[in-house]
Structure formats: structure tokens, C-alpha cells
């Protein structure tokens, strides 16, 4: 295989292509939600290190189809790290070994020749497995429906500069708005808690002037919904934030706790609001 040098690569940056590796996949296979599921061992020789993890699965699937096997089902869409569709546990880590990286942006050069790689779906009761590595994440949509929005009359877009937003607030909102809803936080949390996801939306909308009117109702409603859906409870371990491809910080959770405490206090003082 010819290796083309990347002229833009800085010395000491990511290792460039070293050719191909031979790995063994231990993949979770599950026909449907009712099927018990099991780990299947799949031999994967000749994997180009330039491939992304999803491209590697594409190649493995092509080979499986050619030999009459059943291809591995997995979620994916943009393949550029912004849609939040892809996501799987790779050797026990959400989105694999690289920090701030989605599965589609993870390259095979981070794996060693001869390595055994475990690939499993997100595991949480509110995320039931649909097939193989695909889970149903509509629980996240339900949390958003409970209050993850700003009520506004539709129509022509308002003038962008009508409402001044202080720069630090805008930055904080933007940082939290980076959440792509991939579910890695729930998958990585030893308690299968959705606190980081919910708090990212609370922080995003609660940092902006437009989000103030519904701030109390939003936090109470979204937290109640997250609990109702059966997510676990936060024990402040921090695996969520460490596994988050968008690096949503743990301080979002502290902020959500603060907002909930304040909302409850205010509601007690002014019932009916």
C-alpha cells in the first residue's frame, strides 16, 4: 500500500498511515429487543489504518454480506462528528479511546495490530436495543419535549441584534449548545444517568435572556421527565463529561442543581406561577 504523506501534518501530530492492521472484533449481536443478544467474534484482517471506525464496520459488513452473513447494524449519519447519530462502546469507552471524538471521527490508527476490540451498544434501560449496536434514544427527545425549548411566536425571524446578550453568557450558552445528544454520557455513566444531557440544555437556554421566562418551569419539568423515564441518579463520578465528544463540563450539572433548588424555592413563595 502506498502511503501518501500529508503535507499539512505537523511533526509530532497524529500518526500517519502505517498500512493495515488485523483486528478481532467482539461485537454485540441482537436480533431485536426481545432477543437476548450475545457477543460474536468476527475476524477483521486488512483494515486500513486511515479508515474511520465506521468505515471499518462498512468493510466488515461488505465482507459479511459477500459470505452470506448478517451485517452489523449501527447508527450513523453525518460522519463528521456533529449529528450525534453514531455511538457505541468500544473497549468499554463511549466512542472509543480518543477524547472529544465521536465514533465516526475515530480512526483505526488508534488500534494496534492484533488487538481485540469489544463493540457494544449504549446500555441503559431507557435506551432499548433495536438491533445490534442501534439503540432507541427517543427518551432524549422526550426530555427535550418536556421543556428544552423557548416558547416563541413563529413568523419572520426576529432582528438578531434586538436583544443584547453579554459575551460571557453567549459563550456559556454556546458551549452547552454543542451537545449533539449522542447519549455517550448515559452510556459511560456507571449509574446510566442523563444528568449531563439534561443540564446541557438547561445551561444553554438558561444562559440566554430569551430563556429566562420559562427557566424555573423548564428545569422542574425536564428533571421530572428524566426521572420518570428511568435514568439513573448522578453520583458525581464525572465519566459523562470525560466521555462527552463535545466536552460538556460537569459544572452544567451543578448549574442545573442550583436552578432546580432556586425554582423550587420561588415556586413555594409564589404558587401558581
Amino acid at each position: 500500500m502506498t502511503v501518501i504523506e500529508n503535507p499539512l501534518a505537523k511533526p509530532g501530530s497524529e500518526p500517519q498511515s502505517e498500512g493495515t492492521i488485523h483486528i478481532t472484533l467482539k461485537v454485540w449481536r441482537q436480533g431485536s429487543g426481545r432477543d437476548a443478544g450475545r457477543i460474536e467474534t468476527i475476524d477483521a484482517p486488512d483494515i486500513a489504518t486511515d479508515m474511520s471506525f465506521l468505515e471499518m464496520l462498512d468493510v466488515v459488513n461488505e465482507r459479511l454480506i459477500k459470505t452470506g452473513g448478517d451485517p452489523i447494524a449501527f447508527d450513523h449519519d453525518c460522519r463528521e462528528g456533529i449529528c450525534g447519530s453514531c455511538g457505541m462502546m468500544i473497549n468499554g469507552r463511549a466512542h472509543g479511546p480518543e477524547q472529544a471524538t465521536t465514533t465516526c471521527q475515530l480512526h483505526m490508527r488508534h488500534f494496534k495490530d492484533g488487538e481485540t476490540v469489544f463493540v457494544e451498544p449504549w446500555r441503559a434501560e431507557p435506551f432499548p436495543v433495536i438491533r445490534d449496536l442501534i439503540v432507541d434514544r427517543s427518551a432524549f427527545d422526550k426530555i427535550i419535549q418536556a421543556g428544552g425549548y423557548i416558547t416563541a411566536p413563529t413568523g419572520t425571524a426576529p432582528e438578531a441584534n434586538n436583544l443584547p446578550v453579554p459575551k460571557p453568557d453567549a459563550d456559556q450558552a454556546f458551549e452547552a449548545a454543542n451537545c449533539i445528544g449522542c447519549g455517550a454520557c448515559v452510556a459511560a455513566c456507571p449509574n446510566a444517568s442523563a444528568m449531563l444531557f439534561t443540564s446541557a440544555k438547561i445551561t444553554h437556554l438558561g444562559s440566554l435572556p430569551q430563556g429566562q421566562a420559562e427557566r424555573d418551569a423548564r428545569v422542574m419539568s425536564m428533571v421530572a421527565k428524566q426521572d420518570e423515564l428511568g435514568f439513573g441518579t448522578c453520583t458525581n463520578i464525572g465519566e459523562c463529561s470525560a466521555s462527552c465528544p463535545k466536552e460538556i463540563p460537569m459544572e452544567s450539572i451543578a448549574r442545573m442543581n442550583r436552578d432546580l433548588l432556586r425554582a423550587t424555592r420561588r415556586r413555594r413563595r409564589r404558587p401558581g406561577q
Binding site: 469489544f118 428533571v223 421530572a224 428511568g230 441518579t233 463520578i237 465519566e239 451543578a254 448549574r255 442543581n257
Partner: protein, 231 residues
């Protein structure tokens, strides 16, 4: 408004509210543990100092309050704090367990520290130790190699750590306590919403300081007795 946010009125119906109760009860227990440790350090002074401190505990705020009343008020508050802390630890723990019925074949962590991952097992260890500790120094049921005398606390302390394995039991329990305090101290700030990225490092340093301080303060006594410095 086309959709309405359904706001629940009560804080304690939420998991966060229950965590707030755990944080509050935990903080109260930690304050008590700190006072317990500082008081115990009087054993390093001499026998009359320690015994007079022990007697003071029974006569706190006396005469306005009859003897042992204040002690019992503190004991009842402490028992209540433990009840709240343990009850929510169990119910929230079971909830998290139910949220991940099917487990990973391969588990790994990115950064989780052992203190955070062992809160439940550490808590169980501490619960077992507390019962053992009460059986030794409050009820006097366990007294290997010495006679328990309720009126002579100094004698009981010196007698208790005559056996090397007793020092080991206390060292293990205090290590579990230090781990629990390290994660718990920081968690109080996080759960009550008093943490942010600027204060995070500082609170971690305080948490380390608090756990080391409590560990060293308490362990000095069994070691002091075993080394013959307290006799």
C-alpha cells in the same frame, strides 16, 4: 403557548432533591465526625484532660439543660441524619441499578477516581464499622484483653488498642472514611449547585485536606497507643 411545561411543585420528588437531602445529611455527619476527632485528640494530653472532656459531653449546657439532654439531642439528630443518608443511598442506588439491567461485557473508565466508584461499598464498610465501634466504646460488648469500664474512658482507649489487629481494623475503617469524605465533601458542593469550573480545583484541594486531616487525626490514637506514647 402550544405546549406547556408541567412543573412539579415538590423538590423531594426529584432525584436531585433526594441527592440534596443526602448532601445535607452527609455534611452534618461530617461536621460531627470532625468534632469527634478533635475531641478525641485530647487523649494525647493526659488522662484527666481526656476524662474531663468525656464527662463534659454528658453535661453539655448543664445546668440550663439536665445532664445528658444535649448529648441525646445531638445523638437523635445524628441518628436522623444517618437514617436519611442511608435511606436515600439505598433507594437512589437501586434506581441506578434498575437503569442498567443489562451490563457491559467490557468495562473501563476514563477518569473515574476510586473514591467516587466505591461510595456504596465504602458506605457499607463504614456502616459495619460504626456498629462495631459502638459495640466497643459505647456499649462495651467487645473488649479483647481488657475490662470495659464505662466510667473510665481513658482506660478503655488504652485497653482497646493493645491488640495489633484492632489497630489494623481501625486503619482500614479510617481509610474507607477518608475515601468517602474525599468524594462526599466535593459532592456536597456539586449537588447543592455551589461548584463551577473556577472553584472546582479549590474544592478538590479542600476535599483532599479534609480527608487527610480526619484520617491522620483519628489514626494517631490507635498508633499512639500501640507505640506506647499513650498509656
Amino acid at each position: 403557548m402550544t405546549t406547556t411545561m408541567t412543573a412539579r411543585p415538590s423538590l423531594y420528588t426529584t432525584t436531585i432533591g433526594r441527592k440534596v437531602l443526602m448532601a445535607g445529611s452527609g455534611a452534618f455527619i461530617l461536621l460531627w465526625v470532625t468534632a469527634h476527632m478533635l475531641g478525641n485528640l485530647k487523649v494525647w494530653l493526659n488522662r484527666p484532660e481526656f476524662d474531663s472532656y468525656a464527662h463534659f459531653l454528658r453535661r453539655m449546657l448543664s445546668p440550663p439543660f439536665p445532664n445528658t439532654w444535649v448529648l441525646w439531642i445531638i445523638r437523635i439528630l445524628l441518628i436522623a441524619a444517618f437514617a436519611v443518608h442511608v435511606y436515600f443511598a439505598i433507594t437512589l442506588g437501586l434506581r441506578s441499578r434498575a437503569a442498567r439491567v443489562s451490563r457491559y461485557e467490557y468495562t473501563d473508565h476514563v477518569q473515574a477516581d476510586p473514591a467516587a466508584l466505591t461510595m456504596r461499598w465504602g458506605g457499607l464498610t463504614l456502616a459495619a464499622f460504626i456498629i462495631f465501634h459502638l459495640m466497643m466504646f459505647t456499649w462495651g460488648w467487645i473488649h479483647p484483653g481488657y475490662s470495659f469500664d464505662k466510667a473510665d474512658p481513658y482506660h478503655n482507649v488504652v485497653g482497646a488498642f493493645g491488640e495489633w489487629w484492632m489497630v489494623v481494623i481501625y486503619a482500614v475503617a479510617l481509610f474507607a472514611l477518608a475515601m468517602h469524605v474525599y468524594h462526599g465533601f466535593w459532592s456536597v458542593f456539586q449537588t447543592l449547585g455551589l461548584n463551577n469550573r473556577r472553584w472546582d480545583r479549590v474544592i478538590r484541594v479542600w476535599a483532599t485536606g479534609a480527608s487527610v486531616f480526619i484520617f491522620l487525626g483519628f489514626i494517631s490514637i490507635p498508633i499512639g497507643v500501640a507505640a506506647g506514647a499513650i498509656s
